[in-house]
Amino acid sequence: MHRSDRWAAVLGLIPWLLVVAPLTMMLAALWQQGQGVLSLAFLLEDPSRAGRAGGIASLLLSTGWILAVCLAVAVPVGLGCALFLSEEVRPGSATDRRLGFALDLLAATPSVVFGLFGYQFFAITLGLGFSILSGGLALSLMVLPLMIRSAEQALRGVPLSYRRAAEALAVSRWGWVRRVLLPNAASGIAVGVILSVGRALAETAVLLFTAGYVLRRPDSVFDSGRALSVHIYDMAMNVPGGTERAAATALVLVALLVLINLLIRRLVRRPFSGVVR
């Protein structure tokens, strides 16, 4: 082995440590702070005393509702747009590039800006106020690019040979989409949905101005509701003595996200490319 390669092989452990150590320390610190509070009761009880006691049941409910609204908009619109891209638009054409840029910009726009927009448009102009509906709608805009890209990838991944066969048999567009394209791309689209859920769960800033802060169980989508991520922020920054519950909530959230990641892996079973030796 070349001497330079030997050095490189060993020195590479330094960046590795720089990455792995903080991450494990972070998870350990959160566990240390939050594990005393974690229990089944934590998940099933509502918060009390402004969150200083009790659990997070109502928050789980709110989060679930917000997710539901978000997906109810993002999945159909996203799938429709992805279908548009895969059926009507040639890759590399002007439309493809323009739409692609718009979607990328939407994906890169900071969360606060969505918060501002959501507040102005959904809460005020549409009169929805601080509500799960406002929050879900604003969130749906944020996950839309992700949903579209994943679904588009899945759709474009369906083998060309199927398409040719359908063309040769003069199958209608709707028939092709319904009977061949969608079933074949289904797992990839499911991955897109799951990725969107992951992204949505992690968002905070946008919900601060749209879904609000209210702790109790929402009665409908027009009620305000607090999402898990917002709760972590509030407990950590605004409520003295709330750090333990913040950490516990963070652990619950991270656990949910890990589950989601595992689910995606199951569906995709992405092979890791081999190491070049």
């Binding site: 070349h2 081999g274 070049v276 030796r277």
Partner: protein
């Protein structure tokens, strides 16, 4: 250590005994025996899938990197066991030219300077050695005004000759060529063929080719491979004349007569 001998000691003979290459469960080629005499060119012919490329990769231990790959048997350069050499030394003596021209995305001259610098050749000598290699492949006149341009701006045939120059610049003594002309147009192909022919005598060459006519033109000896069941094997290995005119094995006769494969 002088890795670039000036005087041309005669190149070593290349002998393979019982070489088998497997990838996990699958056997690519089994029990290959062949011997290339010093300075000769042997053509390795046979249909796709009979393990010719695997055999080449086994000689300069390129196959080692692939997962699940195991090579058995022995390879000798003259009387020295190639397995006893470390990989770097082996690959300095045994150079390889690939089917698809693959110059580095660097300038023409840097494609040659880079391997030299990696092998510890002092800066002062690099340009002279690079020029010599380019002259050897007949590229010097064509590129001497474009040395700083990207190697990817050359034509396919020029790129392949550059790749050969890049291999020659380290002064190997054995050359392994994996269908060096098959990705080139007929004109470039002929130029590269002539170049390969001119290398005989100074180097010992083992060339995989699908082109029987090319084998007839260039080779001193020919080894015919075949697929036997699931794996490849060597069927016949003899002088060019013998193989094409008086083949000993029926498969050789059929393959070289264009009836099968």
């Amino acid at each position: 250590m002088n890795i670039l001998p000036e005087a041309a000691a005669s190149p070593p003979s290349l002998t393979l005994e019982g070489v088998s290459v497997r990838y996990g469960e699958r056997v690519a080629i089994q029990g290959a025996n062949l011997s290339v005499a010093s300075g000769e060119l042997m053509a390795l012919v046979g249909p796709s899938g009979c393990g010719k490329t695997s055999l080449l990769s086994a000689i300069n231990r390129m196959a080692d990197g692939l997962p699940g790959c195991r090579v058995s048997g022995s390879v000798h350069l003259d009387h020295q066991d190639a397995g006893a050499l470390d990989r770097a030394s082996l690959r300095r003596q045994v150079g390889m030219v690939f089917q698809q021209p693959n110059p580095f995305p660097l300038s023409v001259i840097d494609n040659l300077r880079f391997p030299l610098s990696e092998h510890g050749v002092p800066r002062r000598q690099r340009d002279a050695l690079a020029e010599r290699a380019l002259r050897d492949v007949g590229l010097w006149d064509e590129v001497k005004d474009r040395l700083a341009q990207s190697a990817l701006s050359l034509s396919g045939g020029q790129q392949q000759r550059l790749c050969i120059a890049r291999t020659l610049v380290l002064a190997p003594r054995v050359l392994l060529l994996d269908e060096p002309c098959s990705a080139l147009d007929p004109v470039s192909s002929r130029v590269v063929e002539e170049l390969i022919g001119s290398l005989k005598g100074r180097y010992t060459l083992l060339m995989v080719t699908h082109n029987l006519a090319q084998a007839r033109r260039l080779a001193d000896t020919v080894t015919v491979c075949w697929v036997d069941g699931e794996c490849g094997c060597v069927v016949e290995s003899n002088t060019c004349e013998q193989v094409f005119q008086a083949p000993a094995h029926p498969i050789t006769a059929a393959y070289c007569g264009g009836e099968v494969g």
